[in-house]
Symmetry: C2
Subunit: 126 residues, 2 copies
Amino acid sequence: MTSPSATQDRYPYQNEPIWSRSEKALARIAFDAALKRELHEVMQETKQMANQISEPVDLWDLEHYLTQRRKEIDRKYDYRYSQLTQVFGKLLYESRPGEEDLRGLREDKLKSIRSFAKFLAEMDAA
Amino acid sequence: MTSPSATQDRYPYQNEPIWSRSEKALARIAFDAALKRELHEVMQETKQMANQISEPVDLWDLEHYLTQRRKEIDRKYDYRYSQLTQVFGKLLYESRPGEEDLRGLREDKLKSIRSFAKFLAEMDAA
């Protein structure tokens, strides 16, 4: 017999969705691709900002931009299964990845991810 | 009884050189020119580093470089007359400005400036 507590012992976060092996593989790919794209954007933006430097203050603007982006990316890309729904929700809200990259996740997860993206959009509009 | 602290209360900077009006004008020009040159170097180096960015780690190397340079420049360029001898000593040690930029300062100041530059060179060699 599989009791809830026995399940809980094996998996302490009972309210969190279980990620199947195929979902984990898909999540990893979507996560890595989104991170790679975002870092690529920062690289492009940095090159452009650097090219336009003409005053000392532009240097410290660039420094500030890099610090902010580094912190934001560190916070955003948290690959813990307990966080992934929110991570993908945030990414979806920012249109990275698009929903097509998440195809293959179970519908319950997609629903949570969409729901979190919607919440962020509403927060942003408020 | 005159204790060291009482002396300090009356005139805390008694061992510092007095800067004449013409020396102050000259110091300001040399100071601003050195700062401008150094910032220009950082701008050039930043553009070069940015052009060579090919991996995300290069972004954070650039951020670190900018933070370090900003802090170093903030520390170094301290335009208080109580600090100027050491400031110019450090700049001289780094060959910015050259001694020709300091021509017009009184010999006692040039001697102190050279002496501090020498001290830094010895520290560096140790």
